[in-house]
């Protein structure tokens, strides 16, 4: 029987609720549009100017040559366009007008929202004011940034032309290695963590104590220290000659295992004790009860925190920089480092951030989805009524 059929039988009725937010009004809509307009100017407008400069036919300007962007520098024109677009009068106008609209939106929105008599009107007023605040903040930051040395920043961090010989194949390879390191670490960590959690939950101190020592050691020392030390520990101590990449995978697994153990322990302890009692009363052994009744439920509850651990691990893979990997084994951060040392340009770091984000953002989104499904309801804790 499907869930819906069961509901129908239980007399549960499902139907979308009516929209009860009520009508809009000119004044509240004005507040909203002031906010939207301010954001559009400050973000959209400035971006449009940048795109216009980037895509139209241009030459190196006096100003650019003055600040050292000479023709012999790779990507000088692209950087120059960014700087010029930022300096342009259009940009100045957009920022000031946007900020002014933003302030107007704040004034109108916060001025009227208490008097609004429908939910829609009140939300429009407040949203307009919030967007206004955001627009003013962005405008101020950009204006201050512009008054410094944006030329130097752009030259070193936004010269995307220098990336071209290193891009796509080596970059994708680096990204793949980042993911492989994180994935291997997480997978190994989950297995180690589950075993450690079982030991930590033992009623016998002789089983608990060593697991505790392990967990506290790996949680208590820096990951970068573990990476740096274990390579030589394996090499000199155990005469195991392993590639830095493999050592890194092992260390990530050992480290993640300690954190995952705590996550699993908390998850298992969050299962009502009646579940264990029910399983044991049916004649199951402790191990069977764990395997069939407790752990499957605990795993569901710990998926979000484990995925968070994974996001953290993706970023922590950057620490293998201390091991010095072969070119083919390079992950994102080392790809950037070698690019920077080849070209003396830090735009590689900018690209690296984008690389990490393309992996982490979908994961973060996924975690939030899973968490929402597990928690269901409760979007923001706003209390009751108005």
């Amino acid at each position: 029987m499907s869930a819906l059929e069961i509901e129908a039988e239980a007399g549960i009725h499902r139907e979308a609720p009516p929209d009860t937010r009520g009508p809009s009004s000119p004044i509240s809509a004005t507040a909203l549009w002031l906010g939207i307009g301010a954001i559009a100017m400050v973000l959209g407008g400035v971006l449009a100017v940048q795109l216009n400069y980037a895509l139209s036919d241009r030459v190196l300007t006096e100003h650019c040559i003055e600040v050292g962007l000479t023709r012999d520098i790779t990507g000088a024109l692209g950087v120059c366009n960014i700087i010029e677009a930022l300096r342009a009068q259009e940009t100045t106008a957009l920022l000031y007008v946007g900020a002014a609209l933003g302030i107007a939106g704040i004034a109108v929105g916060f001025g009227i929202y208490r008097k609004m008599d429908t939910v829609r009107r009140r939300e429009q007023a407040i949203t307009g004011a919030l967007l206004g605040i955001l627009a003013v903040q962005i405008a101020v930051v950009l204006l201050v940034f512009r008054s410094g040395r944006p030329d130097l920043f752009a030259k070193h961090f936004l010269n995307f032309t220098v990336l071209s010989p290193y891009f796509i194949t080596p970059f994708l390879n680096a990204m793949k290695n980042t993911i492989v390191l994180a994935f291997a670490g997480e997978l190994g960590g989950i297995i180690i963590g589950l075993i450690l959690a079982m030991l930590v939950l033992s009623k016998r101190r002789a089983a608990r104590a060593p697991a505790r020592v392990y967990i506290n050691f790996f949680r208590g020392t820096p990951l970068i220290w573990q990476l740096a030390t274990f390579y030589f520990l394996l090499l000199f101590g155990f005469e195991v000659r392993m590639s830095a990449f493999n050592v890194a995978m092992i260390v990530f697994a050992l480290n993640t295992g300690a954190y995952a153990a705590e996550v699993f322990r908390a998850g298992i302890q969050s299962i009502e004790r009646g579940q264990m009692e029910a399983a044991r009363s049916l004649g199951m052994t402790y191990y069977q009860a764990m395997r069939f009744a407790i752990v499957p439920q605990a795993v569901r509850r710990v998926i979000p925190p484990l995925m968070n651990e994974f996001v953290i691990l993706v970023k922590d893979t950057a620490l293998v920089i201390v091991l010095g990997l072969l070119i083919s084994e390079q992950e994102l951060f080392q790809w950037a480092r070698s690019g920077v040392s080849d070209t003396f340009n830090a735009t590689f770091y900018t690209a690296t951030a984008l690389g990490y984000l393309t992996v982490t953002l979908p994961l973060i989104y996924l975690v939030n989805q899973v968490e929402r499904r597990l928690r269901s309801g409760l979007v923001g804790i706003t209390g009751a009524g108005h």
Partner: protein, 250 residues
Amino acid sequence: MATEATGNGDIVRLEGVHKWFGDLHVLRGVDLQMTQRDVVVVIGPSGSGKSTLLRCVNMLETPTLGKVWFDGRDITDIRTNLDEIRTHIGLVFQAFNLFPHMTALRNVTLALTNVLKLDGAKARERAMEQLARVGMDHKAEAYPGQLSGGQQQRVAIARALAMEPRLMLFDEVTSALDPELVGEVLEVMIRLAGEGMTMMVVTHEMGFAREVGTRMIFMDEGLVVEAGEPREMYYHPQTERLRQFLAKVL
């Protein structure tokens, strides 16, 4: 074997059972015998040790002192295989404790396949039989979250019965139910008693205790204060404490 036969045909025998939780002395020396087809109802105020006593019978709580025999075997002996003993003792909880990630059917078959090692088809057949016995076969594929409290409790009873236990323990199984759902669970228990199941029932349902019990035990402050024939105890309590208790619950 040190587990000398002291059964005299008793299915359960408790001898001088004490239980401490920390420094809380919950059971203070309880003796009890149950024979086949007995329906022992345990009543008493909350905190009197009724549930602890019942849980000592399948060693979910280990008595601090004293001995528990099941079917002639000393199950307080550390060498006794409790997992095997527990397959003969069904326990139904106040909070149902169904496995929420499994269907009603899977709740029942889980121990059949993994403990009794029945093959899938046989386990399924036996589970459906027991679900039908409690009137829940039509909800075999439903998850506990989709069932009412009364329905969950009936599935929990089927889960215990499917092991074909020689003794059933009921731990305040109707206390967590809405009043309108109590009847359907009691009905199942009454039928079980009628079929000759040996049962120990901790309950606040005085009507059930009086009509269905073959023997009644009144506990207070960790001791058996009065024991005897249910109607006799109900209508002619011998001790002041039972009189007071009955006056309060009625």
